[in-house]
Amino acid sequence: MPNLSAGAVTKPLSLWRRAMDLGATAFAIVAAVLVIVPLLAIFVYLLIKGVGALDWAFLTQTPKPVGEVGGGMANAIVGSGVILGIASVIGIPIGIGCGIYLAEYARGRFGDIVRFTADVLNGVPSIVIGIAVYSLIVVRQKHFSAFSGGIALAIMMVPTVARATEEMLLMVPNNVREAAFGLGIPKWRTTLSITLRTASAGVITGCMLAFARVAGETAPLLFTAFGNQFWNKNPNQPTAALPLQIYTYAISPFDEWHRQAWAGALILIIMIVVAVAAVRITTSRGTLKGAS
């Protein structure tokens, strides 16, 4: 081939062009490697430092006073569960409702406004949401609470869930809806038990991703859930949360607390990776591919 193409019709590639091509390829590969390296580094460190610090006491005990070795984050793990539960109970229904509106009812301008607002809300810094919830609930109640933390996280879940639900509902073919209407099923029933159910795999994906996203949120909890060194069963009182506890321990000057921060981070990342992986597995089996 080179002999033929080197004739009058085509010139061989100039050295410059070949070098540029090679250089670009090399750059792309280096970029890919550079992006992956921090990820691997973070996971390796989490495993090394976290597994070493993880023991049974960590999962079952509350924090010990400064200077004493041992203790754990049991109250923070449970507290995180409570806050996330409150957030899911409030945020997911509103998000799904909003997604249904966007996909099934939105006509014209108001739909566009809602869609745009949801996207903008998605980009609002979490700490700003924390401030707003602080001045709405905490200031009026005059104390921090798991409840206010849950509301702050719920606000952050709504746009993610809404957009995922909308996208999944729009993927449901229209003749499914028409068939349901043809059977005389009212619209609300069609939407809930037929359209939404067909899209359920994708909608669940969206909910899990929103959940994973807020599970590690710290900033909005600083002024709402606040944290707590002891067991607290009342959601109307300051409550410990895993990310908050990691933050407090990480910036502290004590080695023992640093060790526990790594263990807490390992627990947190395991929860999140399990959620994301579960989503991947369920959606790859479902009929409608999820958002990922």
Partner: protein, 359 residues
Amino acid sequence: MSDDANPLNSPESPEHTQQPMTAIPTLAQAATERKTFAVSSALARIRQSHPRSSRIPDAVFKVLILLTAASVFAIVVFVLWELIDKSRLSLHQFGLGFFVGHEWDPVNDQYGAMPFIYGTLVSSFLALLMAVPLSIGVAVYVTEMCPMRLRAIISFLVELLAAIPSVIYGLWAIFVLAPLLRDYVEPFLAKTLGWTGLFTGPVYGIGMLAAGIILAIMIVPIIASITREVLTAVPQNQREAVLALGATRWEMIRMGVLRNARIGIVGGIILGLGRALGETMAVTMVIGNRPEVSKSLFAPGYTMASVLANEFTEATGDLYLSALIEIGLALFLVTLVVNALARLLVWSITGGSTGRVRA
């Protein structure tokens, strides 16, 4: 209603036989009448089994759904209102001078936001400087160069990078990145690039540079995933056309792909910027938290988000709190504008569906 043409259906309806015949109908008329009878009787049966079906529940459902949709709108308005309302004191006291004042002195009730605005802008700019080439590189590699099998793995890993909570990035940055910078990278930079003035002064590890690097790692997945989406949206025949003209692969990517996708890529970059501006925890943990404007990137700084995280719960005095909330308001407005701009750009490429942007 496909069953109205079914002849077996008509004998089932009792009304049909009871209808009086006033005139002798033509064959066609009879057929249409049979149809309407069948339909109306079917409707009647549905109405009997579902009395007043669908009307009221449908209306209730619609109102509920409308309420949830309106609540999203209401949340944004409420956040904005709350911030404006609570920062009124500081707005009156300092006016626009708040944003250029260098003094942040809670003891004497003097507040100027300049050091924080500076810190936010510089750390975000540093992050973009590092993240943009990397994420475009990774996106190009994944869409244009890489073997099919690697493609899914790399996309998954980049996605995973987005799922790591910012407090864990911060933890890693404090205990791994900062010592690494302090012991190796910063002395090297000081020796080779010290003459620029950007890399001078004592080396702590913690400071503006560390914040920029950790932010870059955090925004790479956002920019990369949007760029990948936009690149995938470029029609295949664009690539083929450029290749057919004898271009190398890089020339094809540059002329056929990147040029077509540039608006969307810019949208993705702005979206990453929005995330970097508002990022709190990881930055707070490594930036050093000192309200100073310093040319050297080794020096500690402070950002708008981290001053909120650190001082908000400790703020004593109404003016102090109000000044902090005003910083929050400024942050909110800036990210609002930045995100709106980014959405419009990305929408103009992908046509409304922004895909999964979990920024």
